[in-house]
Structure formats: C-alpha cells, structure tokens
Symmetry: D2
Subunit: 239 residues, 4 copies
C-alpha cells in the first residue's frame, strides 16, 4: 500500500474562522480523509519541526500532496532541497491550488508560476481535454464548481507534458488547471481547485481526480540512473 | 482481469523454417505465453476470418498487441476502420517492430511511418530516456540485444507524446524505439524490437517492457465525449 | 518571397446572401487580401479543375491556407493524397475554422477531429497561453470577438505539439483554438476562428495571427530524409 | 539587426595551451566570428566586472549564447537571477555543451541536468530527428564529428518541448543533443557539441546549427503578460 503524506501550511485554519468552519480538521485533514480509503496516509504541517518532513518521513513517502498559500516563504530552503531531491529520486508530488507559488513547485518548474487571480464567488467549469488519461478516470466531460477563486492565463509554467483539464471562469478567463510533468525519476501533477474558503475538497469529482493523481504520480521501481564519468561499452578506435 | 488480444500476421512462421524454429508457436504464441501470467490473453491472426478481429472480439478487447510485416496490404480496410474506431473509443494498442508500417499505425499517426532498416546481425542497445515512466519499471539503464535488425532515423512519425527509449545501433544509427501516443480515448505504445529471425521476445527485459506497455495503454473508465451541436450551459446575451 | 495559396471551398458565398455580403470577394479573397502585403498569394477553390490544386500549383506552393465546411466530401481523395504528400515534403499548411473536418486535416491528425459546436452569436475570447511563440507576435493577452460560432471541447485531435491559444466562450465552453503540429518535413497550424457569417477575417489581430502562422509554417530548406534499406556507416562485428 | 552576446567562461583558454592553440581568440571569439556575418555580436567573459553582463548589456541583448565548464560556481547568483529574469522577459538563450551544468540552465530546467561523460577522442554522429524544424535548415541527415567528448543518457532534463538532434557515440551511448524549451516569454536552445580541446566550433554544420538556433530563440515582440489580481471582464452573477 502506498505511503502518502498530505502536507498543509495550516495557517488559514488558525486565523480565519470561515476556513475553520469549512475545514474543521484542516485542509490536510479533509484530503487525508478521503485518501485514507485507498492509501496509507499521514499528514504534516508547516509548524511541526522540520515542517513534519524529516529525512525519515521523506524517505518512506511514495507520494507527497502539497497545499500552501500565505506562508510559502516560511518553508525552509533546506527542506525544499530535500523534497526536490526526493522528487528527482522518484517520489510523486501532487501540488494543489495556491501551491503553484510554493518554493518546491517554482524550483521544479524553473519559472515564476505566476498567474491572474480573483476572489469573487464565481463559477468554474473544468473541462477534460485528455479523455484517454487515467487522471480523468470516472470523471464526466467537466466538473462544475459553483464558487471558486479564479486563476487565469497566462499561467507562467513550462508547457505541461500533458494537459488534462482546462478551466472556464464566469468572469471571462481560462486556465490550464490540470497539468502533468516528469522530472528526473519523479512525476508531478498540478491541480488547480481548492481555495480555502470553499468546500471544494468535499466535491466527489475533485476527490476522485486527486486520488487518480496520487496513483498517476506513484514511483516507478527503479534506481536513479548512473551519472558522471563512464567507461566505454564498445571499443573506441584510435584516430 | 484485462482482456488482451495478441494479433500476428503469422506468415513468416509458415514460409521461413528459421522463424518457425525460433518461434514454434508463432510470434503471437511467444508473446501470449508471457502475457498470460498477468492478463487474460487470446490470439488472432491474419488468415482467420475477419483476421480474427470480429466485432465481438474487438468489443471485448481491452488491449490489442500488433505484429505484422510482409502482408500489411492484406489486412482489410474495413477491419482497420473498426480497430481505429475501437482505439479512439479507448482500446489500448501496442504496436511492435515492423508494425510501424501497418495500416492501423499509419492511419493513427497520419504520416508515412517510414524509416531506415538493415538486417546485419548487429547489436542494439535501447537506452531509457524517461526514467520516471511506468513502462520502464524494473528495467535497468539500457537493454542490450546482441543481434537485431536495425531501424534508423529519420523515423517519420509525429513527435511522440513521450519518448521512452532511444536505440543505439552498432552500424552507426539511432532510433526512437519506445514511443507513446494518446488518440481519442485510447492510448498507443510503439516498441521497436522483434525481428522475426531473432529470439528477441524471449528476452526478459523485452517481455517486461511489453507487459508494462500493456498496462500503460489500458482503457480509462469513461465514455467517448459528446460531439456535435451543443446547447449553451450559460446564458448568452443578445447583441 | 513565399508563395502562398489560399484555398476556399467557396460555396456558402454562392448560396447564402449573408455570407456574400460579408465576404463579397469570397473568404479566399478576404484572406488573400491581407496576406498579399507580405507574400506572393494565389487563390484556389473547390469548383476549379482539380480544385485549383494541380501538380504545378502544389509544387510551387510554400504554404497552403485551407478553409472548407459544407463540401469536405467533394474534395477528391487523389487531391488530398497529393496535398498530404506535399505537406510531408515540407509545404506549410494553415487550417482555418471548419477546416478541422477537412479530409486533409483528419488524415494528418489520425483522429476524428470532432468537437462541440453552436451558432448563437456568442462572444469568444482567445487567450494567449504561449507568450514566447512567434505566432503571438504583436498580439495582446487575448483577442476578443463579439460574435462567433462556438467550438467546444473535447476537440478530438492529438495533443498539439504546441498549444498557442485557448478560447473562452460565453455559453460556458473552452477550446484549444491555436495548435501547431510537425509532420514529416512539414509544419501545420490550426486556427479556430472564422465562421462564414461573421466578419472575423477583417479583424486586425486575426489577420496578424494568420500572417504569423504562414510565416511559422514556412518550409525548411532540406530534402526529405532517405528511407529504406541502408548500408552500415560503421563496421559491424561478426558474431 | 539582432544583438547577440556570446558569453564564455574563458578559463581553459588561459590555463591549457592545447585549448589556446585550438581557440586562440577564445571559444567566444570563434563563435562570435561566424555569428558576426548575420548578427550584431558582442562577447562577455567571467572575469569581466559583473561577468560582462551589466544591466545595460542584458537589457540590450536579444540573444545570449552561453559556454561554461569548470567555473560554473564562480558565476554570481545575482547575475544568474538577472539572466533568468531576462529570459522570462523574452531574451533568447543558446546553451552550449558543458553549459548544461551552468547555474542558469539548471535554474531554468528545475533538474540536475546531470549526464554521463567521457573524454576519449571518440566519434559522434548527430542525427536529425525533427526534419521540419528551422534549426535543421541547411543540414543533412546527420552531422559527423570525428573526435568529441561523449555525453550519454540519462540526461536529467525535462523532456524537451522539441527534440531536434540525437547523438550516436562510438563507445555505445546515445544523447538528446539538440533540445528546445519555452519558458515565460523566452526561448531556449540547448546544443551539445563543443568540448574545448576539439575544433568543433569551426565545423560548418555546427556553425549553421548555432546560427539557426540564435534565429529560433529570437524574442517575440510582446510584453510580459499581466499577472496578479484581475478585475472580471464579464459580469459575475451573485449566488
């Protein structure tokens, strides 16, 4: 059974009663809640020692789910380095919503990961554009969310290896809202929805996509390739 | 359990004693032999009625594995159309070796799928270039085949959605020898090795890659999207 | 100076007074009109002998622009074959709007190229998602069209090599409306807008994108690669 | 006319007589020498103040060509940040050979950019795998270099947006040796050959590819997109 760690900044929950009302167990608690049916799930949060991501935890983690927003800067660079190394070694990474601006996502992408945004209780409709992709398994033509924060293009990311969802927003924007990447031995899935004041993570289709995403990023059974100086396999002719 | 059909032209086996010696059960028999450990496998061949690919068979097939070479032209267009339709509906397709020139592969690719080739008992080394991909699960840095037919660039295919293996050939060429594509609701994996006079399909790593490939192309649980005239979901303002 | 041929079905213009009013010189005439400032432009239409695409014309054409809709089936298969061959040889192809269902585009894509559609005088906004791409040169963050036909996902195409524009539609859909592909030695640009009853091809930004697209698909100076049996470049050891 | 800056570490030239003999004007001098026929070219080197990359220089640079090897660590982080920002703003970047390990390339890629390597006077043959790409304009089926350093897979980079060349090495390896990327408003071309002790940059085909690469990464005429909080374009209904 796969080991999944759901990491959450867990700050809005402490300071905003509205968020606490929507997610009384924290966003991490809500996500862990539905992932537990299929995976061995732990949670970790910013204010734990080493943000709950000790070497032991990281070593045993198959897939890390990441939600952060207002305290990206408080995540220590050394922890980011360790997570980065583990992703390249094969640990899967699912980055949710405002995690687009996390240090780890920006480091893996190499771009600013900036975007347009707006909080206006507006409708989002996520259209499936890759119907052959396992991340869309069990999902209809689109997922509709009555109220969400808007994220709009241009989203400053590398063109995704695979574009899975594209969002329509009531206010007139579009967004590449489901994107996969492969980096080193690791796999990454970015999924847009999940503003802290909306009950998005209770939506069955959103839960299904996250479950599918966790399965999609699961580590492949192989070591990192050998890098560095290499002896020839074939005879090289003197010239 | 997934239903896999291994389709083989099965002509070299009838006319070339060397091939019959290497593959006494036919190439389809050899491939079915190792896939049976994991999947529910049937075989089908060119000279059966409807090439063994009746509507019933196609409807029940999750993944079709295709080997053909000298008789591509004898595959009936109507069967090709049916296979094409089934791939777009979600049936997985694994195309092996000289299947690059099959009608179904050319139709799905939209290009000539031509290449350089040579039969000279030469060494092939397939390097993994996508170490995070499930198709490489359990495979080392490369697979070495002592004797194989050479296929060389330029390989006239669309740039693959994912490039998994690149081959080095003793005679001086390279080749994109493991390629994935997504078309409609279906997934396709092209894998180069497997000339009929060599025991390539008994190689454990080659078997592993084909097994991994069958798993990778497995159908997603979703209907074809709805196409055609569509009513608006939102109100359109008169202008 | 590049030789551009603008091909138009030119049927709506004969039967629908509204279309004739919007495009008195035909859609081909309107497109040729603005391309002439930069290229050597000819036009060709369905009802000309060989649809105006004789061997001589095709041989001299650097870039072919294609608009068709209601008479795709009347385009002769032999002409489609010739155009296909020329694209693989390097002739650029710009496919506009309802050309998504043309024989040549479907043959090059290998899929149905189907989509959702609706004629409801609705607003379209094409967002730039690839701001580094030459096809977006001189274009702002988006192009807004007050009234257009809707095309909605799922668009049954291979994932584009590059996704340039994504459309937002008033009625609630999104669409990958600017897509590039490379096939053989040739380059292809699909661009969505241009329903026959709207003055879309007079819009300066739409004209700019089509000009940029023609430049982007321009042929590279190289022969088709050599295919077929190949002598070894290096010595192959006896085994 | 485009402004091109050729940046070179310029250290091997100072310490290794063999390198000085091959490149008496420095590697930057050799590259600037052939680019001058088409572009307005300046050079910059590590030991100049701010490595020759002042704000003024960077602001006026359309395309930056980068060669570095043994002193990557001496490139100041603040200069790397400025170059990174300029690439995302649209400045083209051509990274050559051992520049794969430069800070700027690693930062843009988000991976280690590690690889296998060997100095053994061995033959390299770069095969064109994207014959429709402008970077291959005027180049035959392959470029052969009698003696080069070997770089072998796995090359720890994101899958390139476009794979242009794949190298065959005498010692048995392959390598993705011509790769394009788009990041923000900028375009990047990585090209493998050019070990300091070989006269690679005098080879006419290598020069042609670099010229083509400089043209391919040239900036698009557009501003950076607007990021951050955005007002709705359409009316949002109260819910």
């Amino acid at each position: 059974m796969m080991n999944v760690v759901v990491w959450n900044e867990n700050r809005h929950e402490q300071t905003n009663p509205k968020v606490r009302e929507v997610y009384p167990e924290g966003i991490h608690g809500a996500i862990a809640g539905f992932l537990e049916q299929e995976f061995d799930v732990k949670t970790a949060t910013l204010d734990e020692p080493e943000h709950g991501l000790t070497d032991e935890v990281l070593q045993e983690t198959d897939v890390l789910v990441w939600w952060g927003h207002k305290a990206h800067d408080e995540v220590k660079d050394e922890i980011v380095e360790k997570v980065h190394k583990r992703v390249l070694e094969g640990m899967g990474l699912v980055v949710l919503h405002s995690g687009h601006f996390s240090k780890i996502f920006k480091k893996l992408m190499g771009t600013t990961c900036d975007l347009k945004w707006r909080e206006a209780d507006e409708k989002e409709r996520l259209w499936v554009v890759a119907p052959s992709h396992p991340i869309t398994d069990g999902i209809g033509e689109y997922i509709e969310l009555e109220k969400e924060e808007m994220y709009g293009e241009h989203f400053d990311i590398p063109a995704p290896d695979e574009l899975i969802f594209t969002s329509w927003f009531e206010g007139g924007e579009v967004f590449r809202s489901g994107c996969t990447y492969q980096r080193g031995n690791g796999r990454i899935f970015y999924f847009r929805p999940g503003h802290e004041t909306y009950p998005t993570y209770y939506h069955p289709d959103i839960q299904r996509v996250i479950e599918n995403g966790v399965n999609w990023v699961k580590p492949v059974d192989r070591k990192r390739p050998v890098y560095g100086n290499a002896k020839p396999i074939e005879t090289i002719q003197p010239k």
